[in-house]
């Protein structure tokens, strides 16, 4: 131990500790490297449509430069437009950055938990120091309930047990002593690992590794080496951006060429190009998507799903396979008595989370005897001061089985501690692995009965060996072969349920042989331990959570495959899988079929078996192809006895099937699998920090059912994003058409670039966010998960329906308003055609209209702005109709209800209010190009708005009436 220059009794000196601390750094895991803030910010500035808008802005400034050089009076318009475009990019960038930072902060706050303290011996004194300041060579004291502050070599241990489940996945407590038992540090008994917990006992040890050098630290750094997969929604949005950018650029270039070949000046053509880009790019959309996602994230947090990464919200919705842990996620993570066997009969016990009574038949004398053994032969105790806490929630000192028995007894008998006091314990042999039993000797509470009671519990076969009689209905009867067989049958049956079975027996010691003062000695065992009376069996299991079976069946109807991955024994795993419905009641495994048909396993046609229980050892020897085959052929799969490393292999196997895989995990060693999964789900209560770090989502209540709620929310947000995008894309055509017609037909420009920005970033923002509040359509959990590659967020139908149908309808409506405004001022439609060059001539101040009146340039410009405003108002009015039709994709609006989503109405009112303010409030600000519009022009496009709504209702009606028809295929988006 001199290697660490420490002293076992005195510990390190403070000075030396400080020195080592300086050398090794603090005892904490380094968080994964994060991207510098400025890079994150710049990424937002150039991502998505920003590049396109930057190009637009740049073109504006080039146009401005050339025009100023030529001395054109209106050159400054382009400068302003460029500045506005740049501002739009920067503002949306800042907004997106802010959103991201906010969601990162949520996680950051989550990981900053209360600093851990460690009891350390330094300078010969015991001291509490923050665990972070531990250094190699420190002497640390640990007691039951502590988290191990570093990797520690034990020097002194007393009944010390640790829970290594977060490291190795074993749920059984491991005992720890100071003996060196194995070469491998992970196997040896004298090392306790960082981040595991000490369950009971006390120990003193020396720190041998700290921080990233600990075993956990090494695994955690392995996890950060596994690359993050791109989230499906990120891929979808990228795909969508590509589509829109492609349309924008190709239309832009096409019309640039058309304009040039129509003998427009190159500079004018560039300005058209800018207009087309601005019209085509939904500037506000990406911000809207972010807001929608974060709204859903908030909603999910309320439902106990904390989303670390916004895009994960949707990933969960497209999940097609869930690889779930058993312990804690599907089950309650506590042993509970499930069955009893006494009087030759099996009784079931209530295993639900909130049990207050047990309803099996308790009248038998055998039960009285059994309950006494359960109560007395038990070392577990409630921590004091929990009288008002429900029994099931009380904290117990003791191992899982004893805790289960204690709580079971407390529920039925009440005041176990009181009973124990009245039946004073005289001697005790704790459980150990050689004896496989636990024994204690008590005085009885009956003052007339001077006999001592010897109670024993342990592995059933061992207990039975020690018995010669068996209690039936309170009577001791000889344990003959028939009785023994009955015992075997019951034992096998309970074991077959995957339950841990304990046997109980007792013996009243004869008064004459064992008088009051008899000195019981547990070392020499000066009392009988055979020919006892067998009383009964109790079996325990970690029961499934009550909400899980429902959630699993929901998953099934939603087309999601649930795979159980556990470190437990296959029998237990299968039993739990059956009870929660992961393996449905009527499906069989290959082994089941073999057993039923009485043929060897090899002869069974694997296609016949729907279910499969795969052992970790089998998995180890499998090739990738074999694993793929299993994943494809069986719909109900349980992986048992798997190591967390194998979880990664399973996840990869699922991903090869093009599935979107969600993986739950809590241990540190789960983190590679969590990272690899499309969506990693860490447990909030049981989860280790490393798992939480690697995960995309944290289940605050560790409950599988919350995942299903999350799936529903994820699907909803996907649907709603589709609606939002469809809504937003529609008006892009109404913004684009004016430019195209302006170029081709040479009419005065119907809508200006600035005005378009006011739609994209003004009137349309709140309504598109409002669609995120839309309730689910009826079929949301009854359809298959979306196929990652086939079911796109923006599919052909959506684009075509929005662009070529509703978009064109809107354009026509808006053009009607435009022509109306001009015609009523004296410019009939036929006069407008081909008018552009004269109209825009700054020197031509006496152009004749259709009536012979003469207009100055500015009078025309003002009229042009009125035209912009009319066009703008018409788009707004029709967007209201568009918003209403986008509420549903299949159901009628009346089925969905017009009033259920109140936020939509907020959206509609905001839209109209913003339009009113722009038109009448800011109509006098010339730079904005709005003019106060005559009231009647607000209603010109109204028939088209109604037409949009009626047409969409007809579309939905046909989709519902003729599923699978040509109409359905081409019109459903």
């Amino acid at each position: 131990e001199e290697k660490y220059t420490t002293s076992i009794s005195k510990g390190l000196t403070s000075a030396r500790a400080a020195e080592i601390l300086a050398r090794d750094g603090p005892n904490a895991l380094t968080p994964p490297k994060s991207t510098p803030e400025i890079i994150k910010f710049l990424k937002q500035m150039v991502g998505g449509f920003s590049i396109l808008l930057w190009v637009g802005a740049l073109l504006c400034w080039i146009a401005f430069g050339i025009q100023t050089a030529q001395g054109v009076a209106s050159a400054f318009d382009n400068l302003y437009l460029g500045v506005v475009l740049a501002l739009v990019v920067i503002l949306t960038g800042i907004f997106a950055y802010y959103q991201e930072a906010k969601s990162t902060n949520i996680m950051a706050s989550f990981s900053k938990m209360i600093p851990q303290q460690a009891l350390v011996i330094r300078d010969g004194e015991k001291k509490e120091v923050p665990a972070e300041q531990l250094v190699v060579g420190d002497m640390v004291e640990i007691k039951g309930g502590d988290r191990i502050p570093a990797d520690i070599r034990l020097i002194f241990a007393q009944g010390c047990k640790v829970d290594n489940s977060s490291l190795t996945g074993e749920s059984e407590p491991q005992s720890r002593s100071c003996d060196f038992t194995h070469e491998n540090p992970l196997e040896t008994k004298n090392i306790a690992f960082y981040s595991t917990t000490c369950l009971e006992g006390t120990a003193t040890g020396m720190v041998i590794n700290t921080g990233d050098h600990t075993i956990i630290g090494r695994i955690a750094s392995l996890a950060s080496g596994v690359g993050n997969e791109k989230t499906p929604i990120a891929i979808e949005i990228e795909h969508f951006v590509h589509i829109v950018a492609g349309v924008a650029v190709s239309i832009g270039v096409l019309f640039f060429i058309i304009a040039v070949s129509m003998k427009y000046k190159v500079l004018d053509s560039i300005i058209f190009l800018i207009g087309i880009i601005v019209a085509n790019v939904p500037e506000g959309l990406l911000a809207t998507v972010t807001v929608s996602l974060s709204l859903t994230a908030k909603r999910m947090a309320k439902k106990n799903c904390l989303v670390k990464n916004l895009e994960a919200v949707e990933t969960l919705g497209s999940t097609s396979i869930i690889c779930s842990d058993k312990t804690g996620t599907l089950t309650q993570n506590r042993m509970t008595v499930a069955h009893l066997w006494f009087d030759d009969q099996i009784y079931s016990a209530d295993t639900s989370e909130e049990q207050t009574t047990q309803s099996f038949d308790q009248s038998s004398q055998s039960w009285a005897a059994l309950s006494k053994i359960v109560t007395l032969c038990n070392r577990a105790e409630f921590k004091p001061g929990q009288e008002n806490v429900p029994i099931m929630k009380r904290v117990v000192v003791g191992d899982a089985s004893e805790t289960a028995l204690l709580k079971f007894a407390e529920v039925i008998l009440g005041d176990v501690m009181g009973i124990r006091k009245r039946n004073r314990k005289l001697a005790e042999i704790p459980f150990n692995s050689t004896n496989k039993f636990q024994l204690s000797i008590h005085e009885t509470e009956d003052p007339n009965d001077k006999r001592f009671l010897l109670v024993m519990k342990g592995a059933p076969e061992r207990i039975l060996e020690r018995c010669s009689t068996i209690m039936i209905n309170g009577e001791e009867q000889p344990l003959d072969r028939e009785r023994a067989e009955a015992f075997q049958t019951a034992y096998m049956e309970l074991g077959g349920l995957g339950e841990r079975v304990l046997g109980f027996c007792h013996l009243y010691l004869p008064e004459d042989e064992f008088p009051d003062t008899y000195p019981f000695d547990t070392d020499s065992m000066n009392f009988p331990t055979s020919n006892l009376c067998f009383v009964g069996l109790l079996s325990m299991i970690d029961p499934p959570r009550s909400t899980v079976p429902d959630a699993v069946s929901k998953c099934r109807s939603a087309g999601i495959k649930v795979i159980m991955v556990t470190g437990d024994h296959p029998i237990t795993a299968k039993a739990i899988a059956k009870s929660v419905g992961i393996i449905s009641a009527n499906s069989e495994t290959v082994e089941d079929i073999a057993k039923r048909l009485n043929i060897p396993v090899e002869q069974v046609n694997k296609q016949d078996a729907r279910a499969a229980v795969i052992n970790g050892m089998e998995l180890k020897d499998m090739t990738t192809e074999q694993l793929d085959e299993i994943l494809i052929n069986h719909s109900e799969i349980v992986f048992a006895r798997t190591s967390p490393q194998q979880k990664l292999i399973i996840v990869e196997g699922c991903q090869r099937q093009d599935a979107v895989v969600a993986v739950t995990g809590d241990g540190v060693n789960d983190s590679p699998a969590l990272k690899k999964a499309d969506i990693g789900i860490a447990m909030g209560i049981a989860g280790s920090d490393a798992a939480k770090n690697a995960a995309d989502m944290i289940l605050l209540d560790d409950n599988f059912a919350s995942i299903v709620t999350g799936v529903e929310e994820g699907r909803l947000i996907f649907d709603n994003l589709k609606k939002t995008i469809a809504y937003t894309l529609t008006k892009n055509i109404a913004e684009l058409c004016p430019f195209l017609i302006y170029i081709i037909a040479s009419i005065p420009l119907p809508i200006g670039t600035i005005t378009i920005l006011f739609i994209d970033l003004g009137t349309d923002i709140i309504p598109s966010v409002a669609l995120a509040y839309e309730k689910a359509e009826s079929d949301i959990m009854n359809r298959r998960p979306r196929h990652k590659k086939k079911d796109r967020l923006v599919n052909e139908q959506l684009a075509v329906y929005s662009y070529l149908q509703i978009g064109i309808l809107q354009s026509v409506g808006a053009f009607l308003a435009y022509f109306t405004v001009y015609a009523e001022q004296g410019w009939l439609p036929n006069t407008l055609l081909g008018l552009r060059v004269n109209w825009e001539d700054d020197y031509y101040n006496d152009i004749e209209d259709s009536y012979g009146q003469e207009w100055t340039r500015y009078q025309r410009t003002y009229l042009q702005w009125s035209g912009y405003t009319a066009f703008f108002v018409s788009i707004t009015i029709q967007q209201v109709a568009d918003l209403i039709i986008r509420k549903t994709r299949r159901n009628s609006i009346f089925q969905q209800g017009l009033l259920r989503n109140k936020v939509i109405w907020v959206g509609i009112f905001s839209q109209i209010a913003i339009a009113l303010i722009l038109c009448y409030g800011l109509g006098s600000v010339t730079a904005l190009n709005f003019t106060p519009l005559r009231v009647q022009y607000w209603f010109v496009a109204m028939p088209y708005a109604i037409l949009i709504w009626v047409y969409d209702e007809i579309r939905k009606l046909f989709i519902r009436q003729y599923p699978g028809s040509w109409w359905d295929k081409n019109m459903y988006y």
Partner: protein, 307 residues
Amino acid sequence: SPPLPHSDTSSDEGERRDEQEKHKEKMGKKTLADVIQEMKTFLWNSEKRECMGRTAQSWGLILLFYLIFYMFLAGMFSFCIYGLLLTLSPYTPTYRDRVSPPGVMIRPYLHGFTIAFNVSEPSTWTPYVNSMHHFLQAYDDNVQEEKNIECPAGQYFVQDGTESEEKKACQFKRSQLQNCSGIEDPTFGYSTGQPCILLKMNRIIGYRPGYGTPVSVNCAIQKGNESALKSVDFYPGNGTFDLMYYPYYGKLTHVNYTSPLVALHFTDVKKNDFVPIQCRLNGEGIVNNVTNDRFLGRIIFTLSIGM
């Protein structure tokens, strides 16, 4: 108990993952040939007889659908426009608030408001003179006498009767412009460095300028030395637009209407310099000081006469 993670197995697995990822990357990258092949299949898939992902029948249906859809839209749009036109009067636009008060223009007009010429070089001023002659053709005395009637001066020429009735127009003879008529001096003074410029008020249907008092014109240096412009002569009268030429009844019924003019004869302008001149209309209801519209009730032009 489940197998415990040995450090060596985990590194093995790490390597395997790396390999798989590399493999995946290889699979992910398509060669150019693949892309071209894919495009070809997309354009014409001979197996399924599909062009761009649709069979001929599918294309036929979708095109038919859009044909019907757009024809319906076109029909509805035409119907709406037809309805709109029905509500409009062919004689008077529904609103005239955007076109009034009137703007002002000048002749000669050769795209721009700088009239620059050199007296000694006729080629520099002939275009202006031609423009004036061309413009004034409609004002030739015989044309006016033939088409239009003489009206009583000093009062609006209001013609009652139905809207559709053809309206008479008052004579505005070129000779009224006297020195600037181009009759005596066909060069409108350009050859002597005393150019004439004609000022025209924009036509507005039903507009009665000055509300009973004729609108007059005055000119001044826009900015700079006042002495650059010593004298301007105005024809006819004192540079007023006589009331009898108003109101205007519109192109359809007021066929022979000729806008009244005011000629500005710049008899003494500083030579060999750019002289910015602003001419304004003055009268009740006339607006001539809006910053945004430099042609509303006024006009600014530059004279540059070289000797």
